[in-house]
């Protein structure tokens, strides 16, 4: 039979390929890319780049994008896209810093602000999910609509004013730095680890990959695809909510302009991290690397006093280069 005769050689080649084209192998490319960027940083910035304080600066700047990107990774693996994360992040921050919320937080506990932000994020995400899963609107359009509406709602609530965070407990918490590491970085790390477990070790993660890999096969295997899609956008909203809280911790103010164009950085990081835009494949580790690559690059440009315009050009080049490399890998692993 043809299957039995063809098997042994194919077996060998998968053995050889497995670590390079497997999830770990794809991340090797990202490690190399990040290392090269760091070398460039040391050469151009020297001491100012290779300094522990500077590393903390990079990570702290990467934290908000990183947390939102973890949520986005799930959305993209499932075959969708969420353009609304930046606006939703802005809305959660504004909602959490209204006079009403802050008064309640003063009376009860500063966590009221956090819970408010997370609830608003999840709510916006679930609205996206309902429209996409049950209204059968393509994710691009549904979340584009949310991008506009959430930003508008944030402006209406805040009246386009900056809302200072006056709850001492809240600001104190974000000033903490256990083991010398700022709170924002801890949260990023925590969310990344939780995201990794959720994707790789739970039924939720398995369903996400199955739905993105082949939604029809998943449906015919008995998976509730619509409900799962709803949850995924809820999760992305939650990540945007956490990002909103972190933004408040970093800037100590809620404004309707928080997170403008954040969705582009987030999607770029996820895609550069090796997640297939068509769905079905992606890793949390890759996304973390994607975020770090962009933020390290930004840091180098800042250290060398280079223009933000040049940064943007470099970002574009990196996105294209990363995707071209991915396609090479994808073709190679399919041809066998």
């Amino acid at each position: 039979m043809s299957a039995s005769t063809a098997a042994p050689p194919a077996d060998e080649s998968t053995e050889r390929r497995s670590w390079l084209s497997g999830p770990a192998g794809r991340n090797v490319g990202l490690v190399v890319a990040l290392a090269l960027i760091c070398v460039a940083g040391v050469i151009t910035g020297g001491e100012r780049f290779a300094d522990i304080d500077n590393v903390v600066t990079i990570l702290r700047a990467a934290a908000v994008t990183g947390v939102v990107a973890i949520g986005m990774t799930f959305v993209i693996i499932s075959g969708g896209i969420d353009l609304s994360v930046g606006s939703v992040l802005g809305l959660t921050g504004v909602w959490a810093t209204t006079v009403a919320t802050q008064t309640m937080a003063e009376d009860l506990h500063w966590l009221v602000m956090v819970v408010t932000a997370l609830a608003v994020g999840v709510g916006a995400g679930l609205v996206n999910g309902v429209i996409i899963a049950y209204g059968r609107v393509v994710p691009f359009i549904a979340t584009l609509a949310m991008l506009a509406s959430a930003r508008g709602l944030a402006e209406m609530i805040s009246n386009r004013q900056t809302q200072r965070v006056d709850v001492a407990g809240f600001t104190d918490f974000f000033d903490l730095d256990p083991l010398g590491v700022p709170m924002l970085i801890w949260i990023f790390a925590l969310v990344a680890v939780a995201g990794w477990f959720l994707l790789n070790r739970t039924t939720f993660g398995r369903r996400t990959v199955a739905v993105g890999g082949n939604a029809e096969a998943a449906r015919l295997a008995g998976i509730k695809v619509k409900r799962h899609t709803l949850y995924i956008y809820g999760l992305s909203g939650l990540a945007a909510g956490i990002g909103g809280v972190m933004m408040l911790g970093r800037t100590t103010a809620g404004t309707s302009t928080n997170g403008v164009l954040l969705e582009l950085d987030v999607i770029a990081a996820v895609v550069v991290g090796g997640t297939l835009l068509a769905g079905g494949r992606g890793t949390i580790v890759g996304t973390v690397f994607g975020v770090l690559i962009f933020n390290t690059l930004t840091n180098i440009f800042v250290i060398n006093n280079m223009s933000t315009s040049a940064q943007s050009v470099a970002k574009g080049v990196i996105i294209v280069a990363a995707v071209l490399l991915q396609q090479r890998f994808a073709n190679r692993s399919r041809s066998t």
């Binding site: 299957a3 077996d11 739970t202 398995r206 998943a218 295997a221």
Partner: protein, 511 residues
Amino acid sequence: MPPSGEAAGTTARPPLLRMEGIVKHFPGAKALDGVDLDVLPGEVHCLLGQNGAGKSTLIKVLSGAHQPTAGRILIDDAEVTIGHPVAALAHGVATMYQELDVVDGLTVAENIYLGHELATGGFTQRREVARRTREILRRLGHPEISPHREVGQLPAAGKQIVSMARALSHDARVIVMDEPSAVLDSGEVENLFRVVRELTAQGVAIVYISHRMEEIRAIGDRITVLKDGRTVGRNLPASTPTRELITLMTGRAVEYAFPRRTGVPDDAPVVLDVQGLSLVGAFEDVSLQVRAGEVVGLAGLVGSGRSEILETLFGARKQSAGTVSVSGRRLRPGSVPAAVAAGVGLAPEERKSQGLVLDEAVYRNITLSTFARTAKGGWLDERAERRVARQQAEALDLRPRDVDRAIRTLSGGNQQKAVLARWLVHGCDVLLLDEPTRGVDVGARSELYGLVRALADNGTAVLVVSSEIPEVLGLADRVHVVSDGRVVHQAPAQEIDEHRVLDLVMEGSVA
């Protein structure tokens, strides 16, 4: 136009198109093994044959989509090479495929001139294109269709006219029509015939593929019958009796090895009970029962509604009327999870697009319906999943055994085994198999047959659909014959033969 029947006597005219000894090999399969076909100018030449006889491959060779391994193609007595689809058009051969190949968002004129737009310096000559389009449509007897109409707004029959007009825009002298009546209702079929008669009167030759005898009688001039990639009847008159044609079409070179039937005890409980199931536009009033340990087959041609019946009783489509019960309990209509929870499993027709997550590991495909059950509080138990998958790989002789490789790398037969394994792990009372051996080589087929029989012997109720009638007859205990969305006959498998089934589906389908 010469009346049908008389055409056989007009062979004195030189053939317009002649195919001689066409052979086409695919890796591991001989699709065509010596086909002869000659087509006269102005005739309707019907091509008959069962699914898998080689009709589609022959058309693809003629339209330049496939290159023949051996054989000659002559047009006007001159040998030609048809290397690609554009070459076929240049030689005056146009093909209308079964799936209407028009672009809904473009206008009628844009569709007709798609790929050979008239342009000067990159600007399309809209006026000239519209004029020529009107001329072609007039020739087809449809001056009422505006060249500027969007094709998506036309009914199926209108789209077919556009498809035909495209063939004429290439000055086609031979037009291949692959089951053109499949998408049409009876009034539209009449119009199609009228157009075909007008075209043949102008000297255009039509190669017409259809399973419907009454159509062949109505417009056919001569018939060529294919079986197992060979021409078994050439240039027969259209008046050839149906029984004679069916005898030519049946009887296979490929031997199927079917497992022995073990017999279903009379007191075996009815597991799957379908009553008056209907889906508007697909099938009507289907009732059937499958008992524990029984294999029931649905025989019928492609498009007869067989797959839709399976998908509906699995909940993947929502019926417009009727009920489906499993072990006496009614299933919620249109809900796959409800069917799965009740112990129904489906191995779908399109294995790759409906059955498998191709980039995922074999074991994850096997446990796709059960990973949530093995999981503890939402946490996957991958060790248990791998263990279960390995057991199945062993039991079903999955090759290779490695359950961690991507399922994409497995052969068709082994992929199908993985889909079956999924439902074995899940533990089904009812197993629905849609074209279980499509794309599976002969050796692996008999293994699959054995597997299906073993499942039934363990008390599973199996309902199987296949376009290959011998497969249904050999595998099933009882057979329902489906034609145009209705069950037209049912009988124990031993009491019915391929001949009778074909007779039922070909004569029984009134357009």
